[in-house]
């Protein structure tokens, strides 16, 4: 049975697109047939993070409006044969996306893919509501910071009221993905703790992604971090989070700062 996942947050800049690319790739690496869909009309970036920016011909709006057929618009990843991208339009108006049209495209994708991962734009406008509209599960990307937690709470409220599942009296399964976690700042009490965030949002945790240079390096070269540096801390955190999505029980690793001697040796080695 196909599953529709939305990666959302309310707040911008928390790592939705990076997480969509990393988790989409990790699902494909686990043998699932995956389509990642960019809903950020006018500000698309998933193509860039996946290194497919020069291969975009048709987009989501073209498919919604019937200008192109779905297979014409889907771009197959060059590294992972199980991963496809449906880009957003860079030029069109977001009002071109209709509830009915998006529903039709998602329904068509459900028959071909195991996972459809929708990358939501920031905000709570049309693009964001449509990205979550048909979701079965939601990943709420949250930074350990007051404004991000507040916006996540708002988005959780919308997932519980504005989705097709909610309207049918069912529940969208919700997961918190904490990103840009800085262990040393958390240890000094400068950053909301994982426990605080989970208690406030009352939603289960999917994973903790540490703040890392590897994430930036991966988007610089247009490759999901799970592919570009699979041994790095963020890649391992994404891989574990993906396995949890697939139903495996993986112990949660809270990123910790390297201590005393380790730090010293680490520096010497570098």
């Amino acid at each position: 049975m196909a599953k529709v996942l939305v990666v959302t947050s309310g707040k911008g800049g928390v790592g939705k697109t990076t997480s969509t690319a990393a988790i989409g790739a990790a699902l494909a690496q686990n043998g699932r047939k995956v389509a990642v869909v960019d809903f950020d009309v006018g500000l698309r970036n998933l193509d860039l993070v996946l290194g497919a920016e020069r291969r975009v011909v048709f987009d989501l709006i073209n498919v919604v409006q019937g200008v192109a057929k779905l297979p014409q618009a889907l771009i197959r990843d060059k590294r992972l044969e199980n991963l496809w991208l449906l880009p957003a339009s860079q030029t069109r108006d977001k009002d071109a996306l209709t509830d009915e049209g998006v529903g039709r495209v998602i329904a068509e994708m459900r028959s071909t893919f195991d996972y459809i991962v929708c990358d939501s734009p920031a905000g709570i406008e049309r693009g964001a509501t449509l990205a979550m509209r048909f979701a079965d599960e939601a990943i709420i990307v949250t930074n350990p910071e007051v404004s991000s937690v507040r916006d996540s709470d708002r988005i959780i409220g919308m997932l519980d009221s504005k989705t097709v599942k909610a309207e049918k009296g069912e529940q969208v399964a919700k997961h918190i993905l904490i990103s840009r976690f800085d262990p040393s700042r958390a240890a000094r009490g400068e950053m909301l703790s994982i426990e605080d965030i989970l208690e406030i949002l009352a939603t289960p945790l999917l994973g903790i992604i540490p703040e890392s240079q590897d994430v930036l390096r991966a988007s610089n070269v247009g490759s999901p971090v799970t592919l570009n540096s699979p041994a790095s801390a963020p890649a391992r955190a994404y891989a574990d989070a993906t396995k949890r999505l697939l139903g495996e029980t993986i112990p949660m690793m809270v990123p910790s700062e390297p201590k005393g001697l380790m730090k010293l040796f680490g520096r010497r080695a570098a």
Binding site: E145, V146, V149, R150, D153, R154, G157, A186, R188, G189, E190, M191, L192, S193, D196, I200
Partner: protein, 96 residues
């Protein structure tokens, strides 16, 4: 004290701010979750109408108005504390 400072490798650590963040969020979200419930909340309705009634007669200074709401299982309280400028009552007595 200062002599120890000389040897300290870094300045004394700043106080942890995460507990403040946590408390502020909890208060704010309790309020916002109340706002987005389907039926307008009685407490919020009272708050708005009381403030509207007062502001018809007096220019409200946001710094002089304190609204406190507490939601409990059995009892909820709404406390509206409005500081009125002095001389206002006399003005009313003259007018009526």
């Amino acid at each position: 004290m200062s002599i120890f400072r000389l040897f300290a490798s870094r300045p004394s650590p700043l106080p942890a701010t995460a507990p403040v963040a946590r408390e502020r969020l909890q208060i704010l979200l309790a309020h916002e979750r109340g706002l987005r419930d389907e039926k307008p909340d009685l407490l919020m309705l009272l708050r708005e109408e009381i403030l509207a009634a007062v502001s018809r007669h007096v220019a409200l200074d946001p710094d002089k108005v304190i609204v406190r709401m507490e939601r409990g299982k059995n009892v909820s309280t709404l406390e509206v504390d409005v500081e009125l400028p002095s001389g206002l009552e006399r003005m009313f007595a003259v007018a009526s």
